[in-house]
Amino acid sequence: MTDYEAVIGLETHIQLNTLTKIFCACKADSWNAAPNTNICPVCSGLPGVLPVLNEKAVEKAMLLAAAMHAQIQSLSFFDRKNYFYPDLPKGYQISMYEAPLATGGYLDLPLPQNEARRVRIAKLHLEEDAGKTKNAGGKRLIDFNRCGVPLVEMVTSPDLRSAEEAAQYLTRLRQLLRWLGVSEADMEKGHLRCDANVSIRPRGAAYLNPKTEIKNVNSIDAVREAVQKEIERQAREMEAGHTIESWTLEWDEDSGKLKKMRSKETEADYRYFHEPDLLPLHISEEWKKSILTALPELPLERRQRFVTQYGLPEYDADILTAERSLSDYYEQTVKAYGGDPKKVSNWLMNDVLRMLNEKGMTADQLRLLPAHLAEIIRLIDEGVINNATGKSLLEKVQASGETPAAIVAREGLAKVSDDAAIRSICQEVIAENPAEVENYRNGKATLMGWFVGQVMRKMRGKADPNLARAILEELLAQ
């Protein structure tokens, strides 16, 4: 069997999380709204209305373009894309065609073994969303709520080489969109939509075979699965000597199967022309500068820096930069703590992340601030409290908002390392449990843990367990 490689390009539509729609004052977000309740004359395409551009949508698209290393154009135009569909109330979509908002750009996708795949961006522009149609009871129902929601259409070159890479790209894109705060990027809610163009060719070949387009994939897992199945199908077809036809396929989530929607017809003629109802979009250097000062360090850059600057393993760096506020939290804690960054990473990865997951919070929402966490680690380092006390403090700080030191002082949680105090409790325990002492001395060494536990219990956990063990061993040996 020939060794094939997949050639995959992804076409994404990203719903920007602006307050209002792109050309009118309706709310952009209609989640849970009854059909056709979040509309106005403009977005429902009544006769005589005109679009007025929401600059916030442009600004969010600018941030995304800059993060994708694309060139933001100082002059771009909106165009009309003309076609008939009931959920498109004007009979044309306002999009960009000839002179889009940005050109070029790429995302360097990290691969195993420190390699990276450069995924080039072929298209990046702003447009308005259409409404939704559905069939019910022999009728076609239309909901215009989504009409005019701002979208960025972003299309990659055919640079991805496996289903896993396609999934990785979407994961990184979703991470980036949330990181930038430009989209909620929830695929299940349609904030991030993806069509995949898939073809295969013998590994090493430079030509492109006819591709199929997979539509209606609503999660990253579904993209991975659908693309993988399509790669396998195409390989089987080719092995059987068939040629691949340019079909449009639909992913059926329930059956986990691809269905043929239609043979790809000749390219539709959308009769694009510049939208006369909107002025050319001029983006001045000042405007661009004022927006791009808000461009944060990007997740992949920060991930790399965490490895080099803090000596973190890639695994740690990856998890800590999965989400922007977590990575900020990490760095603030490292700064406040001043000690071993890996130790901070362990605390975050083991304890803080669990807390976040349980509470469904992001790091910036915690009452347990980076300074608090740093203080807890330092208290342990200094031997003031033991590890277990430290972990219990996480919840206590989160619940009360008090500083760890204040809680330690009030609840008397400081570790007792006074030899005499522990020694007298150890003597008490030995005196109260003659039977266990007998058994221990007859060789049941495993009882030592029990003795230590008794001491800790009497001292409400404040004793240094290592010291307690040493004293008990000394007393029982006598």
Binding site: G48, P86, G91, D269, R271, F273
Partner: protein, 528 residues
Amino acid sequence: MELYAQSAYELTRLLHSRQVSALEILESVLKRIEAVDGRPGTLDPGEFTEEDRRKVHAFITLTAERARAQAQEVDRKLAAGEDPGLLAGVPFTVKDIFCVQGTPSTAGSRILANFVAPYTATPVARMEAAGGVMVGKVNLDEFTYGSSNESSAFQPCPRNPWNPDRVPGGSSGGSTASVAAREVPLSLGSDTAGSIRQPAAFCGVVGMKPTYGRVSRYGMIAFGSSLDCPGPIARDVRDAALMLQVIAGQDHHDSTAAALEVPQYVALLEGGVKGMRIGLSPDYFRIAIPDIQTGEYALQPLPEAFSAAVHRAAAALADMGAEIIENVPMPNTRYGIPAYFVISRVEAASNLHRFDGVKYGYRTSQPVQDLRSLYRKSRAEGFGLQPKLRILMGMYVSAAQYSEQYYRRALQVRSLIRRDFEQAFDPQGEYRLDALLTPTTPTTAFGFGEVYGDTVLMQYADQLTVPANHAGVPGISIPAGFASDGMPIGIQFLGADFTEEKILRIARAYEIATQSEEWRKACPQERQ
């Protein structure tokens, strides 16, 4: 003089001095409309009678009750000592291409006959906010596609008040007819290639196309979105200035409406023309019609009466201190119509996409198998001939394989036409014009059925007006006498971007210079 025959300016004066009430003005106007307008246009007009032939038929919808409420509000404000606005108590009509909340807004088309707008167009809202009293929606060519009003789906269509066997012009024919017949002093029209100025010339009234962006287009059902301009129609220049004052200015519903101060047009009106440079161009004294077979342009001089009217006006203005600059080249004027044919139709076809029988307007009552046949049947039955022709032409010239050779080329021609004006008005240039003076139309109002049906010839009625739409510059047509057929002749002043106050001033100067001339005493009533 009866109240209905007074100018808007005079009416506001009478109102403010409490000599009349807004309601009295309105009742006078409604009575006049009843006397001269005849039955309104409808989709199902039945037999055309001799009585119909003699009437104006400006209206599609009379909004008398809405007007009474508006007039009462003006009277209440006056009584309460509140400012009732610049247009207080002035009745006006609105071309039925503008949406007005709660009124049928038909565009003169079957496809929108049942459409009641849920919102009001900005220029109408501004007139009402200024105390103006809208008395109704007036007829037009279907979707404004025409120069005679004959294409309206609502018949009988408007007739020229100076001679009922002549067309009023178009597409704002209902507007100019209602003003010329002294049904109202003001009307709101729209101009895409001359649709305000041409019917104003045909009906012997003043019509102004402001600079593109001077007046918001919000609520005006679009034809050629890059060319369309709402504008005032009045019987004299002062009223036009007054109305422009009210409707002009920035609008947060229209990003193409310019964020510029609106000058005090009325206050600046009588500044005179001393030292102004007014140009005449040979390219506006001939008409170029392409030969269908060869594509060659045949140049025909304009009828003598038209060039004479323009030269008389030039002489009058020169007497008042203006400098007349002759032989200003405007060489691309002749390409205005072909370029317009392409650009306006590409935009029109796209603008008409939304009328699909799904959301509002006409939907076929025939059974349909699928969505596509719903679209096809609704559009086939709902649109008249003119929209269909524009859709066909617009789809053809914007198709991927033809767009380069038609649409792109037309846009280049448009830039050349714009350059003609830039050179003529360039303050550092050779001509340094304040305005260009031209005839408005190559003919007087033609008879019903004379031109209709020949879409190309009909379009050439706009040859002298369309360049201003391509270039975006302002233009005003004012009456300048009568031709030997007894019909009015219009002359036009074109200015540089946003210099409405200048061309209004020049037009007003011409009015003053000719106010005692005999032809000014004529009025349509006596000719009926």
